[in-house]
Protein backbone atom coordinates (compact mmCIF):
# COMPACT_ATOMS: atom_id res chain seq x y z
CA UNK A 1 0.00 0.00 0.00
CA UNK A 2 2.83 2.33 0.91
CA UNK A 3 4.61 1.48 -2.31
CA UNK A 4 1.49 2.28 -4.33
CA UNK A 5 1.08 5.70 -2.71
CA UNK A 6 4.75 6.44 -3.38
CA UNK A 7 4.31 5.51 -7.06
CA UNK A 8 1.21 7.70 -7.21
CA UNK A 9 3.10 10.57 -5.64
CA UNK A 10 5.96 10.22 -8.13
CA UNK A 11 3.48 10.00 -11.02
CA UNK A 12 1.71 13.17 -9.95
CA UNK A 13 5.01 15.03 -9.60
CA UNK A 14 6.17 13.83 -13.00
CA UNK A 15 2.89 14.74 -14.71
CA UNK A 16 2.89 18.24 -13.21
CA UNK A 17 6.50 18.84 -14.13
CA UNK A 18 5.83 17.68 -17.69
CA UNK A 19 2.69 19.77 -18.07
CA UNK A 20 4.34 22.87 -16.64
CA UNK A 21 7.15 22.44 -19.16
CA UNK A 22 4.65 22.89 -21.99
CA UNK A 23 4.36 26.60 -21.43
CA UNK A 24 7.24 29.01 -21.75
CA UNK A 25 5.29 31.80 -20.12
CA UNK A 26 3.50 31.17 -16.88
CA UNK A 27 2.09 34.70 -16.72
CA UNK A 28 -1.67 35.12 -16.91
CA UNK A 29 -3.37 38.24 -18.22
CA UNK A 30 -6.62 38.82 -16.40
CA UNK A 31 -9.14 40.31 -18.78
CA UNK A 32 -10.96 43.50 -17.99
CA UNK A 33 -13.62 44.66 -20.42
CA UNK A 34 -12.49 47.40 -22.84
CA UNK A 35 -9.05 47.63 -21.26
CA UNK A 36 -6.03 46.89 -23.42
CA UNK A 37 -3.50 44.93 -21.40
CA UNK A 38 -1.00 44.04 -24.10
CA UNK A 39 2.51 45.34 -24.63
CA UNK A 40 2.87 49.09 -24.82
CA UNK A 41 3.82 50.33 -28.27
CA UNK A 42 6.75 52.61 -27.61
CA UNK A 43 7.94 54.72 -30.50
CA UNK A 44 11.40 56.13 -30.89
CA UNK A 45 10.02 59.51 -31.86
CA UNK A 46 7.15 61.49 -30.46
CA UNK A 47 3.92 61.49 -32.45
CA UNK A 48 4.42 65.12 -33.46
CA UNK A 49 7.89 64.58 -34.94
CA UNK A 50 6.65 61.47 -36.71
CA UNK A 51 3.70 63.42 -38.10
CA UNK A 52 5.98 66.11 -39.55
CA UNK A 53 8.31 63.55 -41.12
CA UNK A 54 5.41 61.62 -42.64
CA UNK A 55 3.79 64.77 -44.01
CA UNK A 56 7.05 65.68 -45.71
CA UNK A 57 7.34 62.14 -47.05
CA UNK A 58 3.76 62.22 -48.39
CA UNK A 59 4.48 65.45 -50.27
CA UNK A 60 7.58 63.86 -51.80
CA UNK A 61 5.99 60.54 -52.71
CA UNK A 62 2.56 61.55 -53.89
CA UNK A 63 3.63 64.29 -56.25
CA UNK A 64 0.61 64.25 -58.50
CA UNK A 65 0.85 63.72 -62.19
Amino acid sequence: MKLLSFVQYITVVLVFSLVSACSDDAGVTLHEAHVYKGNVDVHKESAQIREQRLQLRARQVFTDR
Binding site: T29, H31, E32, A33, H34, V35, Y36, K37, G38, N39, V40, D41, V42, H43, K44, E45, A47, Q48, R50, E51, R53, L54, Q55, R57, A58, R59, V61, F62, D64, R65
Partner: protein, 210 residues
Amino acid sequence: MARMKFLCDVDRCTECNACVTACKNENEVPWGINRRRVVVIDDGQPGEKSVSVACMHCTDAPCQAVCPVDCFYTTEDGLVLHDKDLCIGCGYCLYACPFGAPQFPKDDLFGERGKMDKCTFCAGGPEQDHSEEEFEKYGRNRLAEGKLPLCAEMCSSKALIAGDADIISNLYRDRITRRAGRPDYSQDQSTEQSSKQEPPWGWDTAYQKS
Protein backbone atom coordinates in the same frame (compact mmCIF):
# COMPACT_ATOMS: atom_id res chain seq x y z
CA MET B 1 -2.81 65.17 -34.48
CA ALA B 2 -2.63 63.54 -37.89
CA ARG B 3 -4.89 60.61 -38.65
CA MET B 4 -3.33 58.08 -41.00
CA LYS B 5 -5.64 56.82 -43.74
CA PHE B 6 -5.59 54.91 -47.01
CA LEU B 7 -7.47 56.14 -50.06
CA CYS B 8 -7.83 54.23 -53.32
CA ASP B 9 -8.73 56.27 -56.39
CA VAL B 10 -10.85 53.75 -58.31
CA ASP B 11 -10.56 55.76 -61.52
CA ARG B 12 -6.81 55.25 -61.48
CA CYS B 13 -6.46 51.67 -60.18
CA THR B 14 -5.54 49.31 -63.00
CA GLU B 15 -5.71 46.07 -60.99
CA CYS B 16 -1.99 45.45 -61.43
CA ASN B 17 -1.82 43.91 -57.92
CA ALA B 18 1.60 45.45 -57.34
CA CYS B 19 0.38 46.75 -53.95
CA VAL B 20 -0.46 43.18 -52.93
CA THR B 21 2.94 41.91 -54.03
CA ALA B 22 4.79 44.79 -52.40
CA CYS B 23 3.00 44.22 -49.10
CA LYS B 24 3.71 40.49 -49.09
CA ASN B 25 7.34 41.04 -49.97
CA GLU B 26 8.03 43.90 -47.58
CA ASN B 27 6.40 42.24 -44.58
CA GLU B 28 7.27 38.64 -45.50
CA VAL B 29 3.63 37.71 -45.14
CA PRO B 30 3.22 33.91 -45.12
CA TRP B 31 1.38 31.94 -47.78
CA GLY B 32 -2.38 32.05 -47.53
CA ILE B 33 -2.50 35.52 -46.02
CA ASN B 34 -3.20 38.66 -47.98
CA ARG B 35 -3.10 41.78 -45.92
CA ARG B 36 -4.13 43.69 -49.03
CA ARG B 37 -6.31 42.61 -51.97
CA VAL B 38 -7.54 44.20 -55.15
CA VAL B 39 -11.28 43.79 -55.52
CA VAL B 40 -12.80 44.15 -58.97
CA ILE B 41 -16.41 45.22 -59.29
CA ASP B 42 -18.29 44.19 -62.45
CA ASP B 43 -15.25 42.32 -63.70
CA GLY B 44 -15.18 42.12 -67.48
CA GLN B 45 -18.16 44.44 -67.86
CA PRO B 46 -17.92 47.91 -69.34
CA GLY B 47 -17.18 50.36 -66.56
CA GLU B 48 -15.57 47.83 -64.25
CA LYS B 49 -13.84 49.28 -61.21
CA SER B 50 -10.90 48.02 -59.19
CA VAL B 51 -10.24 48.99 -55.63
CA SER B 52 -7.32 48.03 -53.44
CA VAL B 53 -8.57 47.04 -49.99
CA ALA B 54 -6.80 46.41 -46.68
CA CYS B 55 -7.43 47.42 -43.11
CA MET B 56 -8.86 50.93 -43.24
CA HIS B 57 -7.81 51.73 -39.66
CA CYS B 58 -11.33 52.79 -38.74
CA THR B 59 -11.86 55.59 -36.29
CA ASP B 60 -14.47 53.50 -34.45
CA ALA B 61 -13.15 50.07 -35.37
CA PRO B 62 -15.70 47.23 -35.16
CA CYS B 63 -12.92 44.65 -34.78
CA GLN B 64 -11.77 46.49 -31.68
CA ALA B 65 -15.32 46.62 -30.33
CA VAL B 66 -15.98 42.90 -30.64
CA CYS B 67 -12.59 41.52 -29.56
CA PRO B 68 -13.27 39.40 -26.46
CA VAL B 69 -9.73 39.81 -25.15
CA ASP B 70 -9.28 43.50 -26.12
CA CYS B 71 -6.06 42.90 -27.99
CA PHE B 72 -6.51 46.00 -30.19
CA TYR B 73 -5.23 49.48 -29.48
CA THR B 74 -5.27 52.74 -31.41
CA THR B 75 -2.08 54.74 -31.80
CA GLU B 76 -1.90 58.52 -31.46
CA ASP B 77 -1.97 58.84 -35.23
CA GLY B 78 -5.13 56.76 -35.56
CA LEU B 79 -3.72 53.36 -36.52
CA VAL B 80 -5.60 50.30 -35.29
CA LEU B 81 -3.00 47.73 -34.25
CA HIS B 82 -3.13 44.60 -32.16
CA ASP B 83 -1.03 42.51 -29.81
CA LYS B 84 -0.54 38.98 -31.09
CA ASP B 85 0.43 37.77 -27.62
CA LEU B 86 -3.09 38.52 -26.43
CA CYS B 87 -4.98 37.40 -29.56
CA ILE B 88 -6.70 34.03 -29.15
CA GLY B 89 -7.56 33.62 -32.83
CA CYS B 90 -11.33 33.46 -32.23
CA GLY B 91 -12.16 35.17 -35.53
CA TYR B 92 -14.80 37.59 -34.20
CA CYS B 93 -12.92 40.48 -35.76
CA LEU B 94 -13.16 38.82 -39.17
CA TYR B 95 -16.96 38.72 -38.92
CA ALA B 96 -17.12 42.28 -37.64
CA CYS B 97 -14.81 43.85 -40.23
CA PRO B 98 -16.69 45.22 -43.28
CA PHE B 99 -13.50 45.02 -45.37
CA GLY B 100 -12.44 41.44 -44.60
CA ALA B 101 -9.12 42.74 -43.35
CA PRO B 102 -8.32 40.27 -40.53
CA GLN B 103 -6.50 37.20 -41.83
CA PHE B 104 -5.84 33.89 -40.11
CA PRO B 105 -2.93 31.59 -40.94
CA LYS B 106 -3.80 27.91 -41.30
CA ASP B 107 -0.37 26.40 -41.47
CA ASP B 108 -0.55 24.72 -38.06
CA LEU B 109 -1.43 21.09 -37.45
CA PHE B 110 -4.96 20.08 -38.48
CA GLY B 111 -5.57 23.43 -40.12
CA GLU B 112 -5.81 25.09 -36.72
CA ARG B 113 -6.58 28.78 -36.99
CA GLY B 114 -3.65 30.86 -35.82
CA LYS B 115 -3.46 34.37 -34.44
CA MET B 116 -4.97 37.17 -36.44
CA ASP B 117 -2.80 39.04 -38.93
CA LYS B 118 -3.71 42.25 -40.69
CA CYS B 119 -2.33 45.38 -42.30
CA THR B 120 -0.38 47.47 -39.79
CA PHE B 121 0.01 50.50 -42.08
CA CYS B 122 3.67 49.38 -42.04
CA ALA B 123 3.84 50.54 -38.42
CA GLY B 124 4.92 47.27 -36.83
CA GLY B 125 3.36 46.41 -33.51
CA PRO B 126 3.78 46.65 -29.75
CA GLU B 127 7.36 45.44 -29.71
CA GLN B 128 10.56 47.43 -29.74
CA ASP B 129 10.95 49.35 -33.01
CA HIS B 130 13.03 47.45 -35.59
CA SER B 131 13.43 44.41 -33.34
CA GLU B 132 13.39 40.89 -34.73
CA GLU B 133 10.26 40.07 -32.73
CA GLU B 134 8.43 43.00 -34.23
CA PHE B 135 9.36 42.02 -37.78
CA GLU B 136 8.44 38.36 -37.25
CA LYS B 137 5.07 39.10 -35.73
CA TYR B 138 3.94 42.24 -37.51
CA GLY B 139 6.26 42.96 -40.41
CA ARG B 140 8.33 45.99 -41.30
CA ASN B 141 8.05 49.21 -39.31
CA ARG B 142 8.44 51.77 -42.10
CA LEU B 143 6.74 54.56 -40.16
CA ALA B 144 9.56 54.51 -37.63
CA GLU B 145 11.91 55.06 -40.59
CA GLY B 146 9.90 58.10 -41.68
CA LYS B 147 8.38 56.24 -44.62
CA LEU B 148 4.78 55.56 -45.61
CA PRO B 149 3.32 52.10 -46.39
CA LEU B 150 5.10 50.53 -49.35
CA CYS B 151 1.88 49.53 -51.14
CA ALA B 152 1.00 53.21 -51.53
CA GLU B 153 4.50 54.53 -52.08
CA MET B 154 5.17 52.25 -55.03
CA CYS B 155 1.73 52.36 -56.68
CA SER B 156 2.65 53.23 -60.25
CA SER B 157 -0.56 55.07 -61.11
CA LYS B 158 -0.73 56.66 -57.64
CA ALA B 159 -4.22 55.26 -57.27
CA LEU B 160 -3.45 54.13 -53.76
CA ILE B 161 -2.43 56.96 -51.50
CA ALA B 162 -1.73 56.86 -47.78
CA GLY B 163 -0.78 59.21 -45.02
CA ASP B 164 -2.20 62.11 -43.08
CA ALA B 165 -5.92 62.28 -43.90
CA ASP B 166 -5.72 66.04 -44.50
CA ILE B 167 -3.00 65.67 -47.13
CA ILE B 168 -4.53 62.78 -49.03
CA SER B 169 -8.04 64.26 -49.00
CA ASN B 170 -6.64 67.53 -50.40
CA LEU B 171 -4.77 65.59 -53.06
CA TYR B 172 -7.89 63.67 -54.04
CA ARG B 173 -9.99 66.84 -54.07
CA ASP B 174 -7.48 68.44 -56.46
CA ARG B 175 -7.72 65.44 -58.75
CA ILE B 176 -11.50 65.57 -58.82
CA THR B 177 -11.42 69.28 -59.57
CA ARG B 178 -8.99 68.73 -62.43
CA ARG B 179 -11.15 65.98 -63.88
CA ALA B 180 -14.01 68.50 -63.84
CA GLY B 181 -16.70 65.90 -63.53
CA ARG B 182 -17.92 63.61 -66.26
CA PRO B 183 -18.62 64.80 -69.80
CA ASP B 184 -22.02 64.06 -71.25
CA TYR B 185 -20.83 60.93 -72.94
CA SER B 186 -24.32 59.73 -73.86
CA GLN B 187 -24.74 62.42 -76.54
CA ASP B 188 -21.87 61.00 -78.55
CA GLN B 189 -23.19 57.46 -78.55
CA SER B 190 -25.86 56.08 -80.78
CA THR B 191 -26.59 52.74 -79.11
CA GLU B 192 -28.59 52.43 -75.97
CA GLN B 193 -26.01 50.20 -74.30
CA SER B 194 -23.13 52.57 -74.76
CA SER B 195 -25.16 55.49 -73.45
CA LYS B 196 -25.22 53.74 -70.08
CA GLN B 197 -21.45 53.45 -69.98
CA GLU B 198 -19.37 55.86 -68.05
CA PRO B 199 -16.75 57.58 -70.14
CA PRO B 200 -13.15 56.57 -69.61
CA TRP B 201 -11.11 58.68 -67.27
CA GLY B 202 -9.40 61.53 -69.08
CA TRP B 203 -12.04 61.60 -71.83
CA ASP B 204 -12.59 65.34 -71.66
CA THR B 205 -8.85 65.99 -71.51
CA ALA B 206 -8.23 63.86 -74.59
CA TYR B 207 -11.14 65.24 -76.61
CA GLN B 208 -11.23 68.71 -75.06
CA LYS B 209 -14.91 68.54 -74.32
CA SER B 210 -16.93 70.21 -71.60
